[in-house]
Symmetry: D2
Subunit: 139 residues, 4 copies
């Protein structure tokens, strides 16, 4: 929707100098790109506070696949939410440990509930939810 627009930003020269150093450190191509990223991160964060918004979440899980019935339980939980869990990636970290990343899409509230359920399963050692965007509202 729409084209590119341009506007001016005023800033103390010293602040801009410090920002330019940060841009270099963080490997941004230019100021506009760095500023767009800050703005988008701030939009996603604010949006995710609203439990009714449609969001995408990636759920990272680390677990020991030797724990009895664990894989089955995680699998069942994922199937129970098959309308929201889009995809999964599995990595074998070592002889015992697995990492799984699930991508879920739905209301922020539902994505958080699914994540809580998975992280609460006995045998899951660590887990974390990242709420991100469906991409639609961020040009």
């Amino acid at each position: 929707m729409s084209g590119t627009t341009r506007f001016g930003v005023s800033m103390d020269a010293q602040l801009l100098e410090n920002f330019d150093k940060l841009i270099e450190k963080k490997s941004y191509m230019n100021r506009s790109e760095a500023i767009r990223d800050l703005i988008r991160a701030s939009l996603v964060e604010t949006r995710a506070e609203n439990d009714e918004e449609e969001m995408v979440g990636t759920i990272t899980l680390v677990y020991d696949h030797h724990v009895r019935d664990l894989s089955e339980k995680l699998n069942e939980l994922q199937h129970a939410h098959n309308d929201k869990i889009i995809s999964a990636l599995h990595v074998h970290l070592d002889a015992h440990n697995c990492l799984e990343v699930l991508v879920a899409r739905g209301k922020a509230r539902d994505v958080k509930t699914i994540s809580n359920e998975l992280l609460g399963v006995k045998g899951v050692k660590h887990g974390k939810l990242v709420i991100t965007t469906t991409g639609e509202e961020l040009q």
Copy 2:
């Protein structure tokens, strides 16, 4: 390494009651499991502060694949770090937007640098790094 051990925790009855409500809300099976999860999260968090520790990171990226050369650039960056990027999952969010989750393994410092490089690419709309564990130190 080793077996299961058991120890006593003392707590005000009211605090325990509130914790039990949280356990139910977060779908934990029992107190031990909920406490183990809090402990593991706290261990991972502390460990990740040390840039020299070996960690696993999942990097979530949302981008518009119609942006010229973007897929190529992301691909190239990943190949430049092929010793650290283990695996990738790609999801088509809609006609324009892609979500990619990469799993990277290495020193916390390196995982953060890779994540910064990828998030800094023009056209990446949103991204986030989750630092998690290799699983080894968390029984």
Copy 3:
């Protein structure tokens, strides 16, 4: 509200050993105290997600008091919310910079709004809200 209660927690011996190291590093007196702290932090975090709960917030602001009208604006804003802002601490960081910490009490929603208003004032260089507890629900 009640006395002290005691319950058992089971854990892999290796996980407990790692936790004991963390306890020492973080200067906790014993395991119970460390676990109670993890539980309380988790309760406060969950509670603060509910915008209708009564919470206490501390708002940290750093600003340059030479910016024209800034002190007056911050002062006015605080007075406009005098039913919620309980107290303030002012520190002179150097010839230019002031740090102010405000303590606000009210619904999480209102505390967040007040914080946003203050942090949005031109001349405020950095600011951050910490949502904490009224203490009532945490024994």
Copy 4:
């Protein structure tokens, strides 16, 4: 050091529209001010990752002053770090609960250690550290 400078930022019109809504919601005066705030927050965050940088921290503590010897212990700890703890604010939340906000200044590493020590004292119900700036590097 220095005057004000101005530069152009390009952005998709839709993204700018969404940002303008956020600006209104967060009560910012204009785009420049909102962008400066995002930049400064990002600078403070990156700087605080370096344990050797001089920073200012505000440490929020909630505790029950009826816990035996607690006030004395907190007081002693503060005096042991009197070269770094600049100031303190005390609020009586109710008959039992106190909130204390301490302002500490020093290397990020030392401010974190002081915070850990205080939060680890038995009887402290909740606590949180905010790392902010001395103001010098942020114009």
